[in-house]
């Protein structure tokens, strides 16, 4: 199966998982001219939709189910994509190339694409099953959270990561109160540098978000089955009307593991998104993928990553050459802040800040031996765009120019 030879019209592609990744694989296959049968199997009752707005625009009522949908429902019938919703894979039989599913007969495949994503990590503590203890991965989760966010209500957020910060910002915008409870001594501890953590924490605090840092969570307490508070390790209880748990995600790789595919915190794939079985691909949050730029492999939870891999699968199936690897990037909207991140700060030995954190318009550059590994830009699009190009080129950057706001990023990037 060479990348250059298109697979014939009798090739049957089965996609397990109808999220942003799975839905995009189907769409790109048709866009790239694939005419064979496509079966798209999704566990949720909804056709593929965008998840990032769930904690932002959607929560604030600025997006609708229609605007979230990746494609209108009729797209699937019009493009001869057999969309099967409310169905999930139970087992993959690689010898007979069939997938046993929760509903209906086993599905035969020539090419299988795994796109089952990741699920929210749950806290195994007393009270975790109380009503009002919520997570945020799906539209159904977001619906529950939205219901809990009326004016004057208090949302406790366990976990000061991006989902938690975004939900807290949305809660405050809806005149609810928010308390972020974080085990580490700062928010975004696992994903951002200290300077950025401090900035976001102050910005949120100035807008009414409360913080409990270095705080362990012992239990959720409740009344008549409904959560009423979060009990901390120091004995205090933080009263709340709902508690959102945002402490990371774990890949849904059980079916892949059981089928004997190589897994290591996600399904291991190559740059073409192929697993250890050449007939099986995997995309999105589920995958452990190579990152040649940083000479390592990572599991990314981001839409651009899912799209890049979805295109790689469509290229392999239709015989198109694979595009060069992209610089990973991420974004987050909180209040009026637009955070854009390009690259990852692996092995960075120096941090340079351009701009002024007090003006909420700045960028944090992470350098390794004078080359930019990552940039975190707050309301600073030129820094993000130029930074992304510099991450890709790994061209050494002049530090004196980088800190000098009178020199444009265009000139810095030259």
């Amino acid at each position: 199966m060479s990348d250059q030879e298109p697979m014939g019209p009798h090739t049957r592609v089965v996609i397990l998982g109808a999220g942003h990744g799975g839905g995009s694989v189907a769409a790109f296959l048709r866009q790239y001219g694939f005419t064979g049968p496509i079966v798209l199997v999704g566990e949720e009752p909804l056709a593929p939709y965008q998840r990032p707005p769930l904690s932002k625009a959607w929560l604030k009522g600025e997006a609708t189910a229609e605007s979230l949908a990746l494609k209108p429902l009729e797209f699937y019938a019009e493009n001869d994509i057999d969309l099967r919703l409310g169905v999930y894979a139970v087992a993959i039989d690689r010898a007979s190339r069939t997938v046993a599913v929760s509903k209906g007969a086993p599905i035969a495949y020539d090419v299988l694409v795994l796109a089952m994503g990741a699920r929210a990590r749950r806290l195994i503590i007393p009270g975790a099953d109380l009503k009002g203890v919520l997570e945020l991965r799906t539209a159904a989760d977001a619906e529950k959270l939205k219901t809990a966010l009326g004016a004057g209500k208090t949302l406790a957020v366990v976990g000061g990561g991006y989902v938690g910060l975004e939900a807290a910002a949305s809660a405050v915008s809806l005149s609810a109160k928010a308390v972020i409870i974080e085990r580490e001594h700062r928010v975004l501890a696992r994903v951002a540098c200290e300077q950025l953590s401090n900035f976001f924490q102050s910005y949120h605090a100035a807008r009414g978000v409360k913080f409990e840092l270095s705080a362990g969570v012992e239990a959720f307490v409740g009344d008549k089955g409904q959560v009423t508070g979060v009990q901390l390790a120091d004995g205090r209880t933080i009263a709340c009307d709902a508690a959102l748990v945002g402490v990371g995600a774990i890949p849904n790789d059980e079916v892949a593991k059981a089928a004997g595919l190589e897994c290591n915190n996600g399904v291991v794939v190559d740059l073409a998104a192929r697993t250890s079985d050449p007939a099986i691909f995997a995309v999105g949050d589920l995958t452990q993928r190579p990152m040649p730029l940083y000479s390592r492999s990572v599991r990314l939870e981001s839409v651009p990553n899912a799209l890049e891999q979805a295109k790689a699968v469509a290229c392999a199936v239709t015989g198109r050459p694979l595009a060069p690897p992209e610089v990973p990037w991420f974004w987050s909207d909180q209040f009026d802040l637009k955070l854009q991140i390009a690259g990852m700060p692996f092995d960075a030995d120096e941090i340079i800040i351009r701009g002024d954190t007090d003006t909420a318009k700045f960028a944090v550059f992470h350098l390794k031996q004078g080359c930019i590994q990552a940039v975190e830009a707050v309301n600073a699009a030129p820094e993000f765009m130029a930074g992304k190009q510099l991450v890709a080129s790994q061209k050494p950057v002049a530090r004196d120019k980088l800190v000098d706001m009178s020199i444009s990023m265009k000139q810095v990037a030259v």
Partner: protein, 106 residues
């Protein structure tokens, strides 16, 4: 409903109908028009929905925001009629708009 014509870099045309209020990017994505990636879903965060707007329509558009200008500044093959299609909202005044797609969005 108004009409949008997308012209791919290779000349292939796609004519789609778009509701008022929908962005040009959303119309492209929902109709699976090739060449508009829109990685960020319209958050003006990625510049992968870059289009060239036909001269007749350029003057009818709102001026780009500082954010859009900054993003475009670093996109590939930018021309004076370059815009991010996620920032163009459809209205009756734009019925018939023609946009041409760049060779690549990356």
């Amino acid at each position: 409903m108004s009409k949008i014509t997308f012209v791919e870099h290779n000349g292939t045309e796609h004519v789609v109908e778009a509701k008022t209020g929908l962005t040009v990017m959303e119309a492209a994505v929902k109709n699976n028009v090739p060449g508009i990636d829109a990685d960020c879903g319209g958050a003006c965060a990625c510049a992968t929905c870059h289009v060239y707007v036909g001269e007749a329509w350029l003057g009818k558009l709102d001026k780009p925001s500082a954010m859009e200008e900054s993003m475009l500044d670093f996109a590939e093959n930018v021309e004076p009629n370059s815009r991010l299609s996620c920032q163009i909202k459809m209205s009756d005044a734009l019925d018939g708009i023609v946009v041409t797609l760049p060779e690549s969005q990356h």
